[in-house]
Amino acid sequence: MKHLLGTQDLSREEAVLILDTATQMAATQEREIRKLPTLRGKTVVNLFFEDSTRTRISFEAAAKRLSADVINFSAKGSSVSKGESLKDTALTLQAMGADAVVIRHWASGAADQLAHGGWLHGSVLNAGDGTHQHPTQALLDAYTMRRHLVDGPDGKGLDGLHVAIVGDILHSRVARSNVHLLTTLGAKVTLVAPPTLIPVGIGPWPVAVVHGLDAALDGPEIDAVMMLRVQRERMTGGGTAFFPSPQEYTRLFGLDGQRMARLPEHAIIMHPGPMNRGLEISAEAADSPRSVIVEQVANGVAVRMAALYLLLSGEEHM
């Protein structure tokens, strides 16, 4: 594996390998000495064109626990003000000797362009590009589901599980990455969103689509419900808003105590964070014992350690 750009390129074997490796990495995090010498001498650059303290810290922790050197590069620029170009930034990093670049960018496709642009020799790990993909998020989500919902999880996928993803699918890289990965691992996916937040070209996706959370709960038993963050700016009503108001969204799609009670007992509640408490998820649901939201964060470090290990060790990466 030279790059990790998206979950659509992962075979089932590769995905299970990452999850199993993450299990071993998680085990090392239970020790007193949580650091391993495995990636000593390697340089990992966190190239963040978009602010995200949580994700950056997660990758930084993962790299440091494997003894890699970490450089944080916070790049300026947006589609309006271009700033230093992606190409020039990449050439600078190459000159600095980056073995891996973890890139978070506001433009869809930026990670692919960085990996295939011919400017960098190292590995590229997509930490979220625009509304396209966020593979390590999907992997930590799958890891979390496997831990809670699959007996004797090592070596296994998510076969037969039913996962509901609720929220702004149209603009969600988390949703796109999850749809591919969950399907590869054998799970069934139902997308729950208003029609305005479902992409027009969704025909070939191997998913069911439902336009209300109550309707989804009426359907086949759900094993894991993943609530996506909804942006208030998209819901301000009038103009080009995708939804009349935040209140109507919460009434039709929000996960509250009542809806939570309709889930089977074993079902888990997930959220990639950060949460809008009271909008897409009530405090009661977020803080309930069925919520694994905090655990997802911890699992993120182990999954990212696994990804860095698999990308950076091994002769094929020299």
Binding site: L17, T28, T38, Y309
Partner: protein
């Protein structure tokens, strides 16, 4: 000499002898923890633990035997395809102040054991670390020695020593192949 060097009865006798040597050297089984290095060090450690348990009352062969995966401590990760990481399991009280017996199948350059010592250091502070190996084939590249050896087999660098164990390969054997004419 090529072909099967040790068969099932030879291996069994060697392990019995090693088990007794461990007990003799350490004055009994108190504080002993066996850590097998995956893949084949692990079943060997389990067999040694079982043999110790038949001789020493109160020695819990399951509790006192674990696995120590050393993949993440290897010094040659970049020279080979990416390796899968195996499990590390330790006794519930850890290994602080224990006498850790590392167990591996073939002792060759010593680099595996060097990595194992680094791994041991990160999981606890044992009283001492000793090394038991089924086969010592020579050609050490580091100043490391084994405390307990099943059989010394002098080899040429070009030769291969393969160990088969029933738990993994379906049979018990130590096989020597290759070499230049």
């Amino acid at each position: 000499m090529t072909g099967t060097i040790l068969g099932p009865p030879d291996i069994d006798r060697a392990l019995t002898r090693i088990a007794h040597e461990i007990l003799e050297r350490n004055g009994g089984a108190a504080n002993i923890v066996l850590l097998g290095i995956p893949t084949r060090g692990l079943p060997l450690a389990q067999r040694l633990a079982a043999k110790i348990a038949t001789v020493e009352q109160g020695f819990d062969a399951v509790e006192r035997c674990g696995a120590l995966d050393i993949t993440m401590y290897r010094d040659d990760l970049n020279r080979q395809p990416t390796r899968t990481i195996g499990p590390t399991t330790l006794p519930s009280q850890g290994i602080d102040d224990a006498v850790v017996i590392l167990v591996d199948d073939v002792f060759h350059t010593g680099r595996t054991i060097r990595a194992a010592l680094d791994a041991v250091k990160d999981v606890g502070r044992p009283q001492s670390v000793q090394l038991a190996v089924l086969v010592d084939r020579g050609h050490r590249e580091l100043p490391i020695r084994a405390d307990f050896v099943g059989k010394n087999i002098p080899t040429a660098r070009s030769e291969r020593v393969d160990v088969h164990l029933t738990e993994i390969d379906g049979d018990d054997a130590v096989i020597l192949t290759g070499g230049e004419r």
